[in-house]
Amino acid sequence: MREIAEEDGNKNMKNRRLNRQGQLQMTETIAILFIFFILLLFGIIFYFRYQKVAFQEKQEELLAVRAMESTLKVLFMPELICSRGEAEPEDNCFDVLKLNATQKTMQQYLDEYYFEIFSYATVTVQETYPENKTWVLYDKPKPEFTRKEPTFFVVTLRDELAGKDQPEYGFGYVAVTVYS
């Protein structure tokens, strides 16, 4: 009887030890899984944040490309560029006479014609020397815009009426702001 009781006791002890070992292993596995999922969660959060920033950057990039394109369009507009008959037009030069006329024309045909070229944008020409004059050529900001991208280019302003024998060249810049 005694032997049987001792044997039973030993078996119980062995079972208890095995149970404890199993419990420890379970806890270890759970801890590892917990840490793994935490890391995975961090990874997912980081990835989505990165995607969000990347998307915003892409939008900014697209706006910057539009700003560049609009600026180039303005710089080479036949309505503004300094020309002389059939000769090659002067680069980085706007004709003041053309500027005065185009200012009215652009405002008159803003929606019908120029909106297709510039979309939501503002185009201004500012003279800094000899006078301080401003020509607002095109002004159509996007209602409730979230972002705007200004681009500046320096130009010379040819005034055929100012010089005595030769035209006078002023100094100024063109500012093109695009909206999104």
Binding site: T128, G170, Y173
Partner: protein, 188 residues
């Protein structure tokens, strides 16, 4: 027992691989951020702006208000008459053109006028947009000689070589005194 140990060892190895993969992904993201190239627009604008500024400046004529007309000629051109006059008479007290400076309001020697005029025009454009720039006008009297600054370099913020900068390129003007090379450096 041996099989159990083997399985456990394999699982640990898998865990290690997972951690290594996660760290590698993290490093990859960091590298993507660090190696991001400068935006295309920034480079285009800086290059184009440097060239257009120089091109416009060289074409600009001095206004009637500056009262520096010689008898028969029209308005003197900065990138022609004024620079030539400065190159020729830089060591002499008086020059042919004695124009009124846009900031000082005084009749100046063509070299002083040139310096004031360029500083003014660049200040009202590039300066007002918080750009750093450097303007140089150097005379090369004869081929192979060391260039001489005909005016003090106009520096706003400065664009040293180690900084990311763009140049307008050389705008050479042939004068009786030699070749005058004008250049503008632009940086953010």
């Amino acid at each position: 027992m041996g099989i159990k140990k083997n399985v456990r060892g394999q699982m640990e190895a898998v865990g290690l691989v997972v951690i290594v993969i996660l760290i590698a992904l993290g490093m990859l993201f960091m590298a993507t951020f660090a190696l991001k190239s400068e935006p295309q627009k920034k480079i285009f604008t800086r290059k184009g702006l440097a060239y257009s500024t120089m091109s416009a400046l060289m074409k600009t004529t001095v206004s009637e208000k500056a009262a520096c007309y010689s008898l028969s000629q029209g308005a003197p051109k900065i990138g022609g008459d004024v620079i030539e006059d400065c190159a020729k008479y830089r060591d002499v007290d008086t020059s042919i053109y004695q124009c009124i400076g846009p900031t000082s309001g005084k009749a100046l020697h063509s070299c002083d006028f040139l310096a004031e005029m360029i500083a003014y025009t660049l200040g009202t454009t590039l300066g007002s947009w918080n750009k750093n720039y450097e303007f140089h006008a150097q005379l090369i009297p004869f081929q192979g000689e060391e260039p001489i600054d005909i005016i003090e370099p106009i520096i706003a913020g400065g664009c040293p070589k180690w900084k990311e900068r763009d140049s307008s390129g050389l705008f050479p003007i042939n004068t009786e005194a030699g070749l005058v090379e004008n250049s503008l450096y632009l940086c953010d």
